[in-house]
Symmetry: C2
Subunit: 328 residues, 2 copies
DNA sequence: ATGAAAGCGCTAACAG
DNA sequence: CTGTTAGCGCTTTCAT
């Protein structure tokens, strides 16, 4: 309802309109400190009347609070930032942070030296969202920063975790393969150092152990190229493999390519399944069987947790469900 | 070289160390206003000595400059933000903006009412990068904001443009199809309202006109689903089509799926080509022939242009080159 | 060319 | 519960 061409209302304008002091107005608006019910009402309606929006720069200055969220991706090289999964996450974060009037930055955190403290004592940084984090990186979070760091992946006492139930999702995929009669199932895993790739591997071990199947495990790096390479290795070492489970969809696409190169029919000769259910999964030839990964919701929740200093954020696991298509 | 556990140096510390006043130090550091050579040297070395970094919040407050870059994507619905192309762009922007200590926000701009002014008088916004913009949206940029708005796509006198040479890239792809003997080439275009999809269509018209080929043009919306649908339409209307050119790779993947459904061999019966050279282009069956689109470089250049208020940014066109694979 | 002084808009003691 | 006062760190007139 504010006249369009006027100068932005300041706190002082609100206070004047409400007939209170700046301090009272500030207390009401920021929700910290006491205020009478009447003062509260009058300030709130003045805010609405004037279309007042607090100046974030001024707030940052006095609170030393920072005005951007950093997505810190742990990895062995800066190329981890090229991953479509990371891209989706950044877009989701930038969208989720929009209403808070804070921006998002993207940064590679070297696995060998995940120096989080340097990032956290940067006054421009309001919070950090960790990706693919390791125990070492989590241990490097000083307790003074509790609540300003969250993790998409494993967490710690200090750092709440927001993650997909990739153990459950992987189990669902593997069970599907098993029920379809597959008995010589290979898995292309992620890098061994990556904690978030562990639960799917555990799900795989659980299945092969309990069903008495052979273990056929090869490491990849989440990329399609590595899926292709690793699947080549699988076919060399265990030519009678009848299913390949990729740690993610990109890996599975690489598997499809390798099987095509080798002249194997999918799913007739070899079934293939992935994880994530990215857009292209419905378009590959054959369309990819996989499990869902609600990246957007997870990231949005994590970003809001780090931005909402109010409630202490608590960890949360997001379900993953099987998506049956043609490849398995 | 600064001791790690000390409080961040302020401008006052620098001034003291350099033996000058805060004003002089400020002038030297921000590079505006006069300063003697000696003062300059002393301030610069004090900065280095103390590891001084200006407090962006304080700067924002006094300069009213803003501390985030908004990527504004024009489209008919908020789902335009789901596009992988947009995701890559956001990630690239967040990376490019990192050293400037500013974050990135992502926002949908309704095609019907691209209200840019609301965004530009938001004090938290340092600059805006437009995506898929229309002439109407560009006309809505007040001249007061010259230099604070750049466009990935078409530009205007007020708004510099950074874009791939998609006309040239499309021409290269089409020429490749023609040289391979294709004479009944269909194109799946983008939405008619989208200016950035026009030049490839012009390239298509140029080829069919000059070579006397039939015009087979169907609209899509950049999605794989639309590519699949549109290719179905093409096959219905012109069953003897021997090539399909998609406005982007996603569209081309949809075309591959449609042709598979229809039992056509690619490239034997029908050649398929796309545009963008995204990661999966090398993995589809068959691998997709396409043209490059250096999104990361384009976005990084645009973001730096909007952040570097110094030089008036000038428009720039980035080359696109043919990538021959198996589908055409 | 340089320094003193006055804010940018907000929050947080501290009295009342 | 409320108002007064003093800054947060920086830039920028305005004298000198």
């Amino acid at each position: 309802m504010r006249a369009p061409q006027e100068r932005q209302a300041r706190l002082e304008d609100v206070a004047k309109a409400a007939g209170v002091s700046r301090s009272t107005a500030s207390r009401v608006i920021s929700g910290s400190g006491p205020a009478s019910a009447t003062a509260r009402d009058r300030v709130h309606s003045a805010v609405r009347m004037l279309g007042y929006r607090p100046d974030q720069a001024a707030r940052s200055l006095v609170n030393r609070s920072g005005f951007r969220v950093v997505l810190a991706v742990v990895g062995t090289s800066a190329r981890v930032l090229d991953d479509p999964y990371v891209h989706r996450a950044v877009a989701a974060a930038a969208t989720a942070a929009m209403p808070y009037e804070v921006g998002v930055s993207l940064r590679w955190l070297p696995r060998d030296a995940p120096r989080l403290d340097r990032m956290l004592d940067d006054r421009t940084v309001r919070g950090v969202v960790l990706f693919n984090t390791t125990e070492a990186a989590l241990d490097g979070v000083p307790s003074a920063f509790r609540g300003r760091v969250v993790s998409i992946g494993i967490g710690s006492r200090m750092v709440p975790s927001f993650d997909v139930d990739n153990g459950g999702g992987a189990a669902a995929v593997l069970e599907h393969l098993y029920r379809a009669g597959r008995r010589r199932i290979a898995m292309v895993a992620g890098p061994a150092w990556m904690p978030c790739a562990r639960r799917p591997v555990e799900a795989y071990r659980d299945l092969v152990n309990s069903a008495g199947l052979p273990v056929r495990l090869v490491a990849g790096d989440f990329s399609a190229a590595s899926g292709r390479r690793a699947t080549g290795t699988v076919l060399d070492r265990w030519p009678d493999t009848d299913a390949v489970f990729g740690i993610n969809d990109a890996t599975a696409f690489g598997a499809l390519a390798a099987l095509r190169d080798a002249g194997r029919q999918v799913p007739a000769d070899v079934a293939v399944a992935g994880f994530d259910d990215i857009g292209y999964a419905a378009l590959s030839a054959p369309a990819l069987t996989t499990a869902t990964h609600p990246v957007e919701r997870i990231v949005a929740t994590a970003v809001e947790a780090v931005l909402t200093q109010g409630g202490v954020p608590s960890s949360r696991v997001f379900p993953s469900t099987l998506v049956r298509r043609d490849s398995a």
